[in-house]
């Protein structure tokens, strides 16, 4: 469906530059869906936007509890933005627990819309309220709108023949209707979507539609609210856009890389939050020649992908931190076999099971070093939801060109967060050449032509890749140390050292094949903020904000974490302060310090939540003031 946004014919309304809305309710209240719809309709209006889903690990945690609250934050703007915003302007709280969990994060003066029907004694108690916050004055710093969402929804659907319990389930559509009215979002796309989505259960569709319309009407008629406001389309680069999450972009990037390389995708994966959606997405697209294999565990996920890679497919495995921890031994085998393989780690809160549905970026050192022996491999990290597309292609390019496993890092924030994406021209995507061997490449002692699987390209040090089915190139490879060139088993001391060094040199040499890191902001500033991964948006916004108020600061962001860009040492040299914001205790910081002997300092946040811009601004200004 392609819509060109026509100016809506309606009364001229006041325009605001943007708003941050947060929907919060029980895990069963459909907040993710509500937020998602609000986002989509804003996307169609041409706003820039950024989302932050935030939900517990339980499927439907007990109703009314604070730990069971599921929230979805979306920021929409008429200008370019790169974060979902530090705190909401408007909170929709479906029950006391949601209010309890969320209200303390709100800035003073924020708007709160509550579903008063849920504010009974039982729910207040469950949420841990001793007194009713709607009446005890504790919310006096906010603008509170009390709306009996449940009962109006019930009324609205009365007559459709829906059971009262089912009717109550539509109250999120009431909320969506109300907020859509407040921000003059178009009605039709949502109604259409309801029809398609709930097509198989017409009663549910009808009920949701009625609730949505009731919410919209309530805004218009209740005279409770100020007039609706508008957020104009953002002045984005021209072209065709879609709203995309990191996991979808990553999946599509893999499909693109498959097309560009001619290698069919084999995905060996075991479900795990927040990576499962890539498995889901890829398994939908079999017409692209994609084989998805839900393996018995993570080890079978990676080893099956390695088997497929041996067979000439694009072997991929997707997982999160606990899965990577299980794949270490097989990754070592892939390093030793020197076959292309892509391992995608959608990081989440750790250690151990940790916080499965929350974001974190504490798997970097595991990605770099989580294997025995010297087993170097390239590591990359995506920086925004849509960048996952490019990062996937780049990771595949390196894996195939250099015959190496590659780890691509993303995280829960990117995976589930969404933003508008200017669709690339598919014909301008880079070509990836598998360059399979097709004939003997060497001469044996008796002068006969032979195939030596570990003969290398002198420039890239990539080895030859001959796939089964190729006549005359039969060969055996394995995890025991191999003789240089022939690949036969060898325990010879000098050969081992040579092979260890060749494998290291091959990966290190990739530095010549990747872009230099760019410095932005005040290029020669004393203070440089070095980032990696999903901190990109928040760092950018923070640097802009500091500079807007006169502070001098530079920033650089790494996509390639191993090897590092050739110019990075140069970029860091001579700065008074190098700050590295990380959602861990300082993992890139360790790498940078060791590599460049620069006194880089980590700005650490390990809360299962992305950095806010405010947090970073404070730390940057501190550093500029010579204090950090």
């Amino acid at each position: 469906m392609t819509d060109t946004i026509a100016k809506r014919e309606s009364d001229p309304v006041q325009s605001v530059p943007g708003v941050i809305v947060r929907f919060a309710g029980d895990s069963g209240d459909g907040m993710q869906l509500t937020g998602d719809r609000f986002t989509s309709s804003s996307a169609l209006l041409g706003n820039d936007l950024s989302t932050l889903p935030d939900f517990p690990a339980e499927i439907r945690a007990p109703a009314g509890t604070v730990h069971g609250v599921s929230a979805f934050q979306v920021r929409i703007a008429d200008h370019e933005i790169s974060t979902p915003g530090d705190a909401a302007d408007v909170l929709i709280a479906m029950n006391p627990a949601a209010l309890k969990a969320e209200s303390s994060k709100l800035p003073l003066g924020a708007t709160i819309i509550v579903n008063t029907d849920t504010f009974d004694e039982r729910n207040l108690k469950k949420a841990g309220y001793a007194t009713d916050p709607l009446h005890d004055g504790s919310l006096s710093a906010y603008t509170v709108y009390e709306v009996p969402m449940s009962s109006i929804t019930l009324e609205a659907v009365a007559g459709l023949g829906v059971k009262p319990r089912d009717a109550d389930r539509s109250k999120n559509f009431f909320a969506l209707g109300l907020v859509s009215w407040m921000y003059t979002r178009p009605v039709e796309p949502i109604l259409e979507w309801i029809t398609t989505r709930f097509g198989r259960t017409p009663l549910v569709a009808a009920s949701n539609e009625a609730a949505f319309k009731a919410g919209h009407a309530f805004g218009e008629t209740a005279e409770l609210f100020a007039s609706p406001v508008e957020i104009r389309p953002a002045a984005l680069a021209p072209g065709l856009y879609t709203n995309i999450t990191g996991n979808t972009a990553l999946s599509w990037g893999l499909i693109a890389a498959s097309r560009q390389s001619g290698l069919p995708i084999f995905l060996g994966s075991y479900p795990i939050t927040p990576a499962s959606d890539i498995l889901h997405e890829l398994s939908k697209h079999k017409e692209y020649g994609i084989r998805t294999f839900q393996a018995e565990d993570e080890i079978a996920g990676i080893t099956s992908a390695l088997g497929a890679a041996f067979g000439g497919h694009l072997g991929i495995t997707t997982t999160s931190g606990p899965g990577v921890a299980l794949k270490g031994e097989a990754l070592g085998l892939a390093v030793s076999l020197e076959l292309p393989l892509l391992v995608i780690d959608i990081q989440r809160g750790g250690p151990s099971t940790g916080l499965p549905t929350k974001t974190e970026a504490a798997d970097l050192l595991q990605a770099l070093y989580g294997r025995h022996g010297e087993s170097p491999l390239p590591v990359l990290a995506a920086k925004s939801p849509s960048h996952c597309f490019d990062a996937a292609i780049e990771a595949v390019r390196l894996a195939v060109k250099y015959r190496t496993p590659v780890i691509l890092l993303s995280d829960g924030y990117l995976a589930n967060g969404a933003e508008p994406w200017l669709l690339p021209d598919v014909d301008s995507l880079p070509t990836i050449e598998p360059r399979f061997s097709t004939s003997p490449n060497d001469i044996d002692e008796e002068g006969q032509p032979v195939f030596h699987p570990y003969l290398r390209d002198p420039e890239t040090l990539a080895r030859e890749w001959a796939i089964p089915g190729t006549p005359g190139l039969m060969h055996r490879i394995g995890g025991i140390e191999k003789e240089d060139v022939t690949g036969n088993i060898s325990y010879e001391p000098d050969n081992h050292e040579r092979m260890v060094q060749l494998r290291a040199a091959k990966v290190a040499g990739i530095a010549d094949d990747i872009p230099e890191v760019e410095v932005e902001g005040d290029l020669d500033a004393d203070v440089l903020v070095l980032g990696w991964g999903s901190t990109w948006g928040a760092i950018g916004a923070a640097v802009d904000q500091v500079r807007a108020t006169g502070g001098k600061v530079a920033r650089a962001h790494l996509v390639h974490l191993n090897p590092l860009p050739r110019n990075l040492g140069e970029v860091l040299k001579g700065r008074r302060s190098v700050l590295i914001p990380e959602m861990n205790l300082g993992q890139l910081t360790k790498v940078i310090r060791a590599e460049f002997l620069v006194d880089a300092q980590c700005v650490s946040k390990v809360q299962g939540q992305p950095f806010t811009v405010g947090e970073l601004v404070a730390r940057i200004e501190h550093a500029i003031g010579g204090l950090g």
Binding site: A43, P238, N243, F266, F293, A295, L306, L423, P468, R476
Partner: protein, 343 residues
């Protein structure tokens, strides 16, 4: 496999140039010979054949075959092979594993490959010991076994690999041993020709750490009285003169009788193709270990869709349904999109 005529080969064509590094006298040699002798008969070519193994003495096997080969990591061969066989249904994929590799660390991958019916031929070299790590007991070692890790005797009750495979929904299950080349060749041939996962347990002598473990049943002089050859459609009988046989009791239990006592008609008739796996299971219970009369041959051989073929068929269906074989630009536009006009 293609329709193109496969050039004739000899066993030598299937031998790689690498020196075989097993201990002198190891049973692995005779298995290698049997496989090399069989290959020219199979109508397949070396370049379309892949041997995948884990780690262990047995797992060195691929190095000695002039085919494609992967010597992977401990226990993971069935998973590596699953990926390969799914991606490349045109290949002949063999898995070589040991009792430690395939039943201890790799037990899960094995049973999952069997239930999925992945098109691989699995040869499990069962020497009831860990050879390569110098002699610890394995999941098939008998209770009481004294090894380096069990100086006072093992207290682990062993797996019966045949029962386990049947319990894991295997479609082809067989047993053979390293002292009977012809039996090995015939068994491997059947396994190879089976569509889907074929599981073959091979009793294999490790003459260094578990010498003679199977002598009671496998030596020339003992075979006649101690091996129970399973033949499809035939009553199950054995003994030098065929004087003993197998009957099923009212509770399904298989037991050994003198044919003279019960008459041939009372013997159970082997049906490897039975849709219900109970008969194969019952037969697998006859011998708790290789010291009792032990069935050899094909326990079970039934048809079930092969995993790789099914997966590939879904791809074809999807291609036909989509009417394209993957238009990337269309994919990128498959969600809601909007145009931002130039300024």
């Amino acid at each position: 496999m293609t329709d193109v005529a496969i050039p004739k080969t000899t066993p030598k064509d299937w031998a790689s140039d690498q020196e075989v590094r097993w201990c002198p006298g190891c049973g692995d040699y005779s298995i290698l010979t049997a496989v090399r002798m069989l290959m020219p008969d199979l109508g397949v070519s070396p370049e379309n054949t892949v041997f995948v193994s884990g780690i262990g003495c047995a797992s060195r096997f691929p190095y000695y075959m002039n085919t494609y080969g992967v010597h992977s990591i401990h226990g993971r061969a069935p998973a590596v092979a699953t990926g390969l066989a799914m991606a490349r249904p045109d290949l002949d994929v063999w898995v070589i594993t040991g009792d430690g590799d395939g039943l201890s660390i790799g037990g899960n991958h094995l049973i999952h490959a069997l239930r999925r019916n992945v098109n691989v031929t699995i040869l499990l070299f069962n020497n009831q010991i860990y050879g390569l790590t110098k002699g610890q007991y394995s999941p098939t070692s008998e209770v009481g076994k004294v090894t380096k890790s069990t100086p006072f005797g093992s207290v682990d009750y062993p797996f019966n690999p045949i029962s386990l495979a049947i319990g894991a929904e295997a479609t082809f299950v067989a047993r053979t041993h390293d002292l009977d080349r012809q039996h090995m060749i015939e068994t491997f041939r059947r396994a190879h020709d089976h569509k889907g996962a074929a599981f073959v347990e091979i009793y294999q002598n490790c003459n260094v750490f578990n010498d003679g473990a199977f002598d009671t049943i496998t030596t020339k002089s003992n075979r006649g009285s101690m091996l129970i050859p399973l033949e499809h459609g035939q009553p199950v009988r054995f003994g030098e003169e065929g004087e003993r046989g197998v009957v099923l009791g009212p509770d399904g239990r298989a037991s050994i009788v003198d044919v003279a006592d019960v008459g041939e008609d009372a013997l159970v008739v082997h049906d490897e193709t039975a849709s219900d796996s109970t008969l194969a299971f019952a037969l697998s219970r006859l011998a708790a270990g290789p010291t009792m009369p032990t069935p050899v041959g094909v326990f079970r051989a039934v048809e079930r869709p092969d995993y790789g073929a099914e997966v590939t068929a879904q791809l074809e269906t999807a291609r036909q349904r989509a009417g394209n074989s993957g238009d990337l630009a269309a994919l990128l536009r498959s969600g809601a999109t909007w145009e931002v006009a130039g300024r």
